[in-house]
């Protein structure tokens, strides 16, 4: 059962931010409610005012240009089906297709996912490899900050109480990039997410820049510079030779805790396993081969 609350349906960001500023602690933003309503049902949150962000002008837009911009109220389903997303970052559409279940995808939003900052988010992990920045808006103005600075920890962000997340901006990889996202787990939410992008060097035969992000095992997702360094400059044909070293570097970079998803040691071991698998898949894609039998138990390959 939910406790009673007032529902506000502002049509502009100014109006919405005005409400947040005026109502202070009594108000929370509300998008799809797939996280918020759960907390309210459990009595963990008892807001007296819900500020619906779904009618805020522009929040449901997906636009391209120098960057790909997803409005905060864009649903996972809309990401999955957007022709613009398909054109600029097909992997993102594939990842959106595997978020949660169909009911959550139909209602849950990109902004809600990022603003909630659950450590078990596929989007945040993938977005780190797309140099994501988030746009925050309040009565005091707008600011843009890197996703790495926005997500501070488990369920913790840099958003001030009077701010709304307006959009997330992504920089699609250059053409010729071979990328994959692999998630693993037996629970409803992923136990581990690995995002890997191999951007080609100008000549095409070597990795110009590598981006590897690990999510779900630590309080917040993070890139792994040490592993990326091992991949940079490696010839596409020799990528599998460095797989062991890359996997080791990734496992050494995480600092997991024991929880329902498994022990810290287990998670660290799985990081190594799935980084190696992700590299094998991305390497095959870089060579133009069909990815190796992408059927790992309890894993989804996008």
């Amino acid at each position: 059962m939910l406790r009673p609350f007032a529902l506000h349906r502002p049509g502009t960001a100014e109006e919405a931010c005005g409400l947040l500023a005026r109502l202070g602690d009594d108000a929370v933003p509300y998008a799809g409610g797939t996280e918020l309503l759960l907390l309210m049902k459990l009595g963990l949150l008892r807001p007296r005012h819900l500020i619906d962000v779904k009618r805020v002008a522009g929040f449901d837009a997906i636009t391209d240009g120098a960057r790909l911009t997803l409005g905060a109220a864009v649903t996972h389903r809309a990401v999955e089906r957007s022709p613009l997303v398909g054109r600029h970052c097909a992997l993102l559409a594939a990842v959106a297709r595997h978020v949660a279940n169909v009911r959550v995808r139909n209602v849950g939003t990109v902004g809600g996912n990022l603003a909630f900052a659950d450590p078990h988010s596929d989007l945040a992990t993938l977005f780190l490899t797309l140099d994501a920045t988030v746009e925050l808006v309040s009565g005091r103005g707008r600011r843009e900050l890197p996703l790495t600075d926005f997500v501070r920890g488990a369920w913790e962000t840099a958003r001030a109480p009077d701010e709304l997340l307006a959009s997330v901006r992504l920089t699609p990889w250059p053409s010729g990039t071979a990328a994959t996202y692999v998630k693993f787990g037996v629970h409803e939410r992923p136990t581990l997410g690995v995002a890997l992008a191999l951007c080609r060097a100008a000549a095409g035969a070597r990795v110009g820049e590598a981006r590897l992000a690990i999510g779900c095992v630590d309080a917040r997702p993070a890139r792994v510079p040490a592993a990326e360094a091992r991949l940079t400059g490696v010839a596409v044909a020799e990528l599998e030779d460095v797989a062991g070293a890359v996997a080791e570097a990734a496992a050494a970079a995480v600092d997991p805790a024991d929880d329902l998803h498994g022990s810290a040691d287990y998670k660290r071991a799985m990081v190594a396993v799935f980084v190696r698998r992700a590299l094998r898949i991305a390497a095959a894609r870089a060579r133009g081969d069909v990815a190796p039998a992408a059927r790992f138990p309890h894993a989804v390959v996008a």
């Binding site: 609350f5 007032a6 529902l7 309503l37 049902k41 007296r48 169909v102 959550v104």
Partner: protein, 160 residues
């Protein structure tokens, strides 16, 4: 703004029939369907969007009615399991479930049928893979899923 505790008028078309109701902001669609409209097909089980027993379609999209505000359905068409059959004639998906033996205790069945309906509206002849993907988050404690999957593939004209 809609005040806490105030009842707001909403208009929906439920299973093809226009309805006007007054609901509180905090009323969940599942409770409105079950208690106000006496449509008991959608069930509350996990209450947290993981099981699918409460699945209904809002403007054709599957949602968890257990975690969906009734006010959000204002102006929408809602389909529950009670709206699938035409009089005494079962919907082809229901027929396929019966033929395949995809129902045991029946607790998950309403949700499974509506999830299947949404899938078939998107992909008229889904593959087994597409069915499995769509059924993620729809739990059945009895059948072991095999017959449910077979039924949905068959309903799309595929040969299981």
């Amino acid at each position: 703004m809609i005040d806490a505790g105030a009842r707001v008028p909403i208009r929906l078309v439920v299973n093809g029939r226009a309805r006007e109701l007054a609901v509180a902001t905090h009323a969940l669609l599942l409770d409105v369907l079950r208690d106000d409209l006496d449509l008991k097909g959608a069930k509350r089980s996990c209450d947290s969007q993981v099981c699918g027993a409460c699945t209904v379609l809002v403007d054709g999209l599957a949602v968890s009615a257990c975690t969906y505000l009734a006010v959000e359905a204002d102006g929408c068409a809602v389909l529950t399991v009670e709206g699938l059959a035409e009089g005494d004639t079962l919907h082809p998906i229901q027929r396929a479930f019966v033929d395949a033996g995809a129902v045991q205790c029946g607790f998950c069945t309403a949700g499974m049928l509506l999830t299947a309906r949404a899938l078939l509206d998107e992909h008229a002849a889904p593959t087994r893979e597409q069915v499995l993907h769509y059924l993620r988050g729809s739990l059945c404690r009895c059948t072991g899923y095999r017959k449910i999957v077979e039924a949905i593939v068959a309903a799309g004209g595929g040969d299981r």
